[in-house]
Symmetry: C2
Amino acid sequence: MSTAEETDGDNTPWSEVTPEAARRLLLAAVEAFAERGYHATTTRDIAGRAGMSPAALYIHYKTKEELLHRISRIGHDRALLLLETAADQDGTASERLADAVRSFVSWHAERHTTARVVQYELEALGEEHRAEIVALRRRSDAAVRRIIGDGVRAGEFDVPDVPGTTLAVLSLCIDVARWFNAQGSRTPEEVGTLYADLVLRMVGATPKQ
Amino acid sequence: MSTAEETDGDNTPWSEVTPEAARRLLLAAVEAFAERGYHATTTRDIAGRAGMSPAALYIHYKTKEELLHRISRIGHDRALLLLETAADQDGTASERLADAVRSFVSWHAERHTTARVVQYELEALGEEHRAEIVALRRRSDAAVRRIIGDGVRAGEFDVPDVPGTTLAVLSLCIDVARWFNAQGSRTPEEVGTLYADLVLRMVGATPKQ
DNA sequence: GAGCGCTCTAAGCGCTTGCTCAGGTTCGCG
DNA sequence: CGCGAACCTGAGCAAGCGCTTAGAGCGCTC
């Protein structure tokens, strides 16, 4: 899983975090936050999972909250990249929307531990850090809204309430992180495909021949 | 189950909790848990909001976890009632599904503080309490699945993956509790109506004339 | 009006929390 | 080899946690 580095693709999401000890701590924090939640996780638990003493954490991070912020920032960057990449592509609005949902959802399923922290622990962030993250989320919303708006203008979609539908689509996709279970019967790709179909129906996309 | 309390309607949701001091504590706990999360909430905070000393809490509840369980239980009972009532009605599958989604969603919006605790603090429950709640959630799933299954059998719906779509529908509705804001521009009823429409599209309901 | 049960409080116990700090080990570099 | 920088640990501090206990105030019955 986390041995090979270099390419910053799907499979090595934390390569940008150095040195190695800082990355180990961050990965341990992701695991612990996802399992128990931020507030129920102790710095001793994080350090223990990384095989270090509690004090080692404070060499690499100023506070426990900084750990959460780093995780949240990296995760939001990644999620936003997926959506904006899909939005910027050539192709019909249907194709771009399906692509956006498929990649966004399968990422939320594949990396559901990370995504759970990213999506559901916002409230634990400090004032400034939260503001920074909220700005990223607004850009995610804008990317999806742009695709849907394009589809409506092109006559491809039938959407009475564009902002409301955008919100619902993003909400639907995000919530995958909450229920997805790696032991379950569906692969992340299967869920992505299912959800892409469901979202195309939500926007009343003209079924392709 | 719970003894009949006159009108146990939407507007008096905690009437079954007595005595009054216990209800005040419970309401304070709902507020605090919704704002900060279970683990970040202190018993002193709960008691303070209810205008009592910290020790008063333990006259009415054995532990802080029991408070969460009571909230979760009552909320799940209410949500399940909405879904099963809609599922048991006469009428087409489209009508029953729209009704289920409309009432379920507008409850999640109207009572979003309660719903947030009910839906997002499951992990904080103890072993047995969680098992009890999970059983209720399975019944919610079954109610929605039944409506969708009926619609497919009647030729009203076009759903390739019934369990997957059921999961997505419930997930979509539940997540309303996370993003709904009372200061926002939409009323709970508006969101319920929007979502009922979106869900009918998801199941490929034959548009009514 | 004495006794009793219910409700509540002031005080605080034992423990865990996030975080600090003095000191030790390992390393590259002259 | 000597030295400074980077990294890590053991021990522990102040604060806050969930929860308990002893007892006060109150309304009730007999």
